[in-house]
Every structure is written in structure tokens, then in C-alpha cells.
Amino acid sequence: MDILIQQLFNGLTLGSVYSLVALGLTLVYGILHIPNFAHGALYMVGGYITLTMMTQAGLNYWIAIVISCVVVGGLAVLMERLVFHPLRHAPAIHDKIAAIGIMLFLEALVQFIWGAEYQTMVSPYGQVVNVAGVTLTMQRLLIIVSTVVVMIVLYIFLKKTFTGATIIALSQNREGANLVGINTNRVAMLTFLISGALAAIAVSLSAPINLVFPGMGHLVLTKAFVIIILGGMGSIPGAIAGGYILGFTESLGATYLSNDYKDVIAFVILVLILTIKPNGLFAKGGH
């Protein structure tokens, strides 16, 4: 029973991180209808920026996260301007290849600057707390709470502010949004900024319980894809729900099925979903 609760808690932590990454991915998909294969690379760059700010500049953990958000967000905006914007009328295969090019570049660049070694990020919240017989680290609690806060802020931004409403409008109908006078370029840039910032937050929160290395974005990215297909491409509640579902499945699967094959679970879920429903769950018709 204790193991079950412990694993559920781990699943919640894992799911939080997955949800944040998937949220960024799904926002971009909603606006531009491209799967951003470079999103995992943004996640990885965010990890290194936070780490460097903490170790080299000696900054506070939270300040480092803010800087990381700004840098990665800026990088994402740059990507939209220089690559995805010129390619907006190109065949779908071109966006994917261009994004892969950016990903390969960022990975090589990071390896060039910081080296290929695995690095650890020491968080100031390493304490262990005991709640009702379950041992938790503060960092894991922090991940869960921060994720909820970020999600609420994002929700309020999208639903209650005018700028947020323009993002929703653009994802519903690009031409329509253009007709009523929404500056689509500005909204696309804003979406990329948010997407990059979310990736930076996710990695900064999860890096202390994992490791920082150039290939860290690969698995996270593919899992985020699994999540947004699970939750419906472009759907925001879907990304959140999908993230937690995958988090729980993985942590329970690792305990009760096989620890070796825990990473396979996500892909098997996806293969099963797409086998039964080739357009993903909750596919909207007539796109």
C-alpha cells in the first residue's frame, strides 16, 4: 500500500513535468499546425541556462529560472521568425525537417559549449519530508505545486485577458482571426514565447531530480508528442490530462510491470491509440 501511494506521488511529479512540456507543444500546434520537433531541444537548452546561472553566476534558483524562461522564450521567438514564418506556405514535410535541423544544431551547440557529460543540478530544496508515512523530497512537492500555479496563471491569461483570447481565436480559425483585425504574426510570436518559457520552467523544476545532458530532450519530446496525441492535437485541457495519465501509467508500470521497459510504455500506448484511431483521440473533424 505504501509503495502504491509512493508511486502515485511519483506519477504526479512525472505527470506535472510532462504536462508543462506538452502544453507548450500543443499551444504551438494549435496556432501553426506544425509539430515542433525542436521543442525538446528548447527544453534541454533551458536546463543548461538554469544550471549555468546557478553554478557560474551564483544566482538564486528562482532568478535563474526566470532568466532561463526569458532566454529560451527568446530563442523560440527567433525560431518562429527565422524559420517557421518563412515556411508557412511550404508543404508540411518542410516544417518538420527544418525543426529537426534546429534541434540538431542546438544539441551540437550545447555539447560544444558545456560538453557531453552528465551534470547534476543541486536545488536548494533537497530536504526530505515525511507525510503520513510517505517520504517525499521538497523538490518533488515543489514541482507539483509550481505546475499547478503555472497552469492556473496560464488558464487565467488565456481565458480572461484580451491577448490570451487572441491566441485562442487564432487557434480556432486563422483567417477569421485575421479578418477581425488580430495581428497573427504577433500572436504567433507570443505563442512561441510562452511555449519556450513553459519548457524552461519544466526543465528547471525537473532537472534537480534528473540529470542535465545534451540528449535529455529526446525522450521528453517524444513523450510530449504521445501526450498531445492522447489529449487531442492543439487541445489545452487534453495536454494537461494526457500528461498526468502518462505520468501515472509510467510510474505504476515501472513498479508493477518492468523497470527496464518503462520508457516503452508511452510508445506502446501511442501505437495502440493510433492503431485504433489514426487521427488521435478526440480528433476534430473537418480541419
Partner: protein, 343 residues
């Protein structure tokens, strides 16, 4: 007609050069690099048929490459099978797996297909990596035999291996050439340009896509099997997504959806990589941006760029001659009009 002859001559010269290459250089290292490049080209041709001609970007290509390599390695080392029997079986295994995966994955389209195959690629990699008792896990498999004798011909020197791989490369190019210039090839291009339209005019898109997918995996498996017996050591890394990205880079630089693209892109990049040895893992710092820039400005790569350039020049010439003709006609009319007036 003169153009066709010219093209034929170029191809003949290239093949001749490939045949005499080992006599020009005595450097075994260069022959080794060239053989490896040829193996990659075979795999790139498989990717080209699917992504370039049919428009379906498969990111599981390295997975099928690894399946071909591991099938051959396991059949020869663990089952002690005759080399050529294992070779044929490896190709059959890869194609059958390709058929099964294709049956399911081709139900999806565009982005879903790319993501689906990305996940299939990961599953193949993770299974190879974790299935320790069969595949040796991260340690990989060693002691894979070099290709068995065919009659009196032995394949234990670099030069003989070079010719063997060259033979399979020419076979691949011939098959791909025949496919692209057949009705099937036209069908695939029709599917790429508009699947709905292709379906409307009565093309069985599902069957055609499945056939391309299986052919594509067949070539990936062929390249994998050749790789295994050429390097004679394989690890799970050959099935990792980075190999797929390498192949994709070769294809994009050379020219996606063109016949000469895979050869040009692969040989160029393999040689450039050799020259940039000091860059090692950082070569993607250069190739990554090139990939992105090419897709934005020259989406059909070197080969496609050249074809477009020639087509444009031809068009210009045509326009020029049309213009001249028109002018001649006009001046002729004027003179006749003038003579009428005078008369």
C-alpha cells in the same frame, strides 16, 4: 536526344570511376570510407522513395536499418547459419516487419505518421537496447562473419567488400530508377501531390503506400545487413534516431525527391565529415543550419536546384527564340505591308 546521351555518358563515367576507384588509390582507409558511404546511400534511397516520392516522412528508418543488421548478425553468430542464407532471411525479416508496421502506421497521415514512426523507431531501439539475452544489450554483437564466398570469389579484403557493396548499390539505383520511371512511380508522386485527388481518379492509395513502405524498409534492411558484415560489430546505437537524422540530412542536401540526390548528398557529406574530423560530434553545428536553410531556400537540395536551374534556362531560351520568331514575323509582315503600299 543529345541531352539524354549526355546524361547517359555522365552516368557511365561515374560508374566507371567507381569501378576503377580502388586502383587509383591504394589507401585502404579511403576505400573503407567509400564503402561505408555506399551503404548509407542504399538506405537513403529507401528513405527517398517514401519521403521524397510519396511524401511520407518516416522517422523509423534507422530502426529498420538496425533490424536488418541485427537479423543478419544473430542468424550468422547465434544460429550459425550460412552467410548468404542469413542475408536473404535478414531481408525477408525486415520486409515482413515493414509490412506489418506499414499496415498500421499508414493509416495515419502527415504529422501523425511522422510522430507514429518516431515512436516505432524508439520502440525498436529500446527493445534492442534492453533485450539483453538476445541482442547483447549495450555491449552489442561482435564476430559477425564477412560475406561468404560466392564460388571462387572471397570477400575478406577491403577491395572485394567495396565491389560487393558497389554491386548492391548499382542494383538499388537500377531498381529505384525503374520504379520511379514506371507507372507506379507516377502513382507515388500523385499521392505526394494530393492524396485525395489520387484517390478520386481511382488510385488505390492504401496499397500503393504499403508497397512503397515495404520497398523502403527492404532497402534499409539491405543497407543494415551489408553494414553488419562490413563493420563486423554492431551496437544498439545504429537504431537510434540520430542515424535517421543523418540519413535525412544526406537526402535533403542531395535533393529530396530526385534520383541523383541520395548519391550526391551522401558522398558530399561523408567526405566533408571526413575533412572536418576535428569537429567530430559538433559537425551538426554546421549541418543543422544547412538543413534548415536548404529547406527554406532550396527545398529540393543540390540536385533539385540544378534541375530547376536548367529548366529555367531552357524556358528562357525558349522564350527568347519565341520572341525572335515573333519579331521576325512582325518585320516580315511590315516589309510585305510596305511593299504592298509601294506597289
Amino acid at each position: 536526344m543529345a541531352n539524354l546521351l549526355k546524361q547517359r555518358n555522365v552516368i557511365a563515367v561515374l560508374i566507371l570511376f567507381a569501378i576503377v576507384f580502388p586502383f587509383i588509390t591504394n589507401n585502404n582507409y579511403l576505400i573503407h570510407i567509400m564503402t561505408l558511404a555506399f551503404i548509407w546511400i542504399i538506405a537513403v534511397y529507401g528513405l527517398n522513395l517514401l519521403a521524397g516520392y510519396t511524401g511520407y516522412l518516416s522517422l523509423a528508418h534507422a530502426g529498420f536499418f538496425a533490424i536488418g543488421a541485427y537479423s543478419l548478425a544473430l542468424l550468422t553468430t547465434k544460429a550459425q547459419m550460412n552467410y548468404w542464407l542469413a542475408f536473404v532471411l535478414a531481408l525477408i525479416i525486415t520486409s515482413v516487419l515493414g509490412l506489418l508496421i506499414g499496415l498500421i502506421s499508414l493509416r495515419t497521415k502527415e504529422h501523425f505518421f511522422a510522430i507514429y514512426t518516431l515512436c516505432v523507431g524508439y520502440i525498436i531501439y529500446l527493445v534492442i537496447d534492453k533485450w539483453d539475452s538476445l541482442t547483447g544489450g549495450v555491449r552489442g554483437l561482435i564476430g559477425i562473419p564477412s560475406p561468404g564466398n560466392i564460388g571462387p570469389i572471397e570477400f575478406n579484403t577491403p577491395v572485394s567488400n567495396y565491389y560487393l557493396v558497389l554491386f548492391f548499390l548499382l542494383f538499388t539505383i537500377l531498381v529505384v530508377y525503374r520504379i520511379v520511371h514506371s507507372l507506379s512511380g507516377r502513382t507515388y508522386i500523385a499521392i505526394r501531390n494530393s492524396e485525395d485527388l489520387a484517390q478520386t481518379i481511382g488510385i488505390n492509395t492504401t496499397r500503393n503506400k504499403l508497397v512503397v513502405f515495404v520497398i523502403s524498409t527492404f532497402f534499409a534492411g539491405l543497407a543494415g545487413a551489408l553494414y553488419a558484415s562490413f563493420i563486423r560489430f554492431i551496437g544498439p546505437d545504429i537504431g537510434y534516431i540520430t542515424i535517421t537524422f543523418d540519413l535525412l540530412t544526406y537526402l535533403i542536401v542531395g535533393g529530396i525527391g530526385t534520383l541523383s540526390g541520395p548519391v550526391i548528398g551522401t558522398i558530399l557529406l561523408v567526405w566533408v565529415s571526413q575533412q572536418l574530423q576535428f569537429l567530430q560530434d559538433y559537425r551538426m553545428m554546421i549541418f543543422g543550419p544547412i538543413l534548415t536553410l536548404l529547406v527554406i531556400f532550396y527545398p529540393r537540395g543540390i540536385s533539385g536546384g540544378f534541375i530547376d536551374f536548367r529548366a529555367k534556362r531552357k524556358e528562357k531560351k525558349q522564350n527568347q527564340s519565341n520572341l525572335n520568331q515573333n519579331q521576325q514575323m512582325i518585320s516580315a509582315q511590315e516589309t510585305s505591308a510596305a511593299s504592298n503600299k509601294n506597289g
